[in-house]
Symmetry: C2
Subunit: 227 residues, 2 copies
């Protein structure tokens, strides 16, 4: 791993608000010519996310790879890949929201690292955050740090993992999106857990997003699209 | 995670000599009723490995799950999933053998952990070893330790990962196989990198296996099958 490859960044792009902000953050920091994006098709019910990710990468002018992961669906039993109603509160015995796929983020980052290894990206960028969220344990900084160590040892590849949103509230993330020029792209993102466009407005993801824009004092370009 | 689930072990079973030894090691240690096996179909060229794994689990009398992983093939460019000749020596610019899939073991263990989480297994068993092998960095103890930390944090799941072969030579692994009653099952295993049955005898995997049995002073039941 050379110093120059550290200046090439691969962004894990889900098609949502946070990863889109990270994509523009990376472009702002490394230059569009040094940024790529990867999206995982893991059998998510809301296929619109995949279209959003492709549209966002195209609009941003960065190369984009979609990789399949059929394993989570085979593992089964979760609301994001099965046809189960998403509930607002805790819903399984672990006390975690039932959108939790054990290890999902670990797998995403490991596959992204394998792609980065092949393509000469020395930095991964992921939109995980510790604050304001549903308490997914695979989004915590200490989890990311441990995984980075495992990847660096396991691939002999001194990878950096940037988490620009880790300590930000949703409102601060909206302000960061403004600062890095990502606001227009927000109109292309998908957030609603119920997969609706225009967004349903009442699922936990819609509520959290609306709260962030409201607290930042910025109108959500996604909602303006459907006015 | 309860103490009792620590006494339930999930073995990552490839259908090869090492993981089969681990399966019988786990049965010896935890009892057959507390052991399960998982095998990954990651698009390996030698589909016979999958049949071997199923046969071995059936012979051992333990439940067996096969999980698909279509991502490595999509990532592309390696000898284990593509139709590339396996070379004996180092063959790519990294100096690693071209059977190396970056992060393969990290992904296997993470998905195995997700299955263990769902099925109430508190221990994973994997046949990775630091000695006598081709130098895969994802087989080292420090890589496993870092990944165990990442999994435990990321899934909030105090998983143990047992690596009974880590410090053993191939000959010592053969002796362990004898001690835990795995020798008969060796006739069901697959090792040959060229996918041949009877084994080709000249690929690095066949040579290493033969050396181990020779040094242990034990006849390989797989070869006896084809006499």
């Amino acid at each position: 791993m050379t110093e120059s490859s550290k200046q090439r960044a691969l962004v894990v792009l889900s098609g949502g608000q946070d990863s889109t902000t990270c994509l523009y953050w990376a472009i702002d920091r490394y230059g569009a010519g040094n940024v790529g994006a990867v999206t995982f098709d893991y059998g998510q019910r809301h296929r619109v996310e995949l279209e959003c990710a492709a549209d966002i990468a195209r609009a941003a002018g960065v190369p984009h790879v979609q990789l399949p992961i059929d394993t989570f669906a085979a593992l089964g039993g979760n609301a994001l890949t099965d046809d189960i109603d998403v509930e607002s509160g805790d819903s399984d015995t672990s006390g975690l929201p039932n959108t939790f796929v054990p290890g999902r983020n670990l797998v995403f980052l490991t596959f992204a690292a394998a792609l980065a290894y092949r393509e000469g990206y020395g930095t991964l960028v992921t939109g995980v955050a510790q604050t304001d969220y549903s308490g997914y344990p695979d989004c915590r900084q200490e989890t990311i740090d441990a995984l980075r160590t495992a990847i660096s040892l396991g691939m002999e590849f001194e990878l950096a993992i940037e988490t620009p949103l880790m300590q930000l509230s949703k409102a601060e993330t909206v302000l960061l999106a403004r600062d890095v020029g990502a606001l227009d792209a927000m109109a292309l993102t998908h957030t609603c857990y119920n997969g609706e466009r225009p967004p349903c407005g009442h699922c936990p993801a819609c509520v959290l997003r609306a709260k962030g824009f409201a607290e930042a004092g910025i109108a959500d370009p996604l909602l303006e699209r459907f006015v």
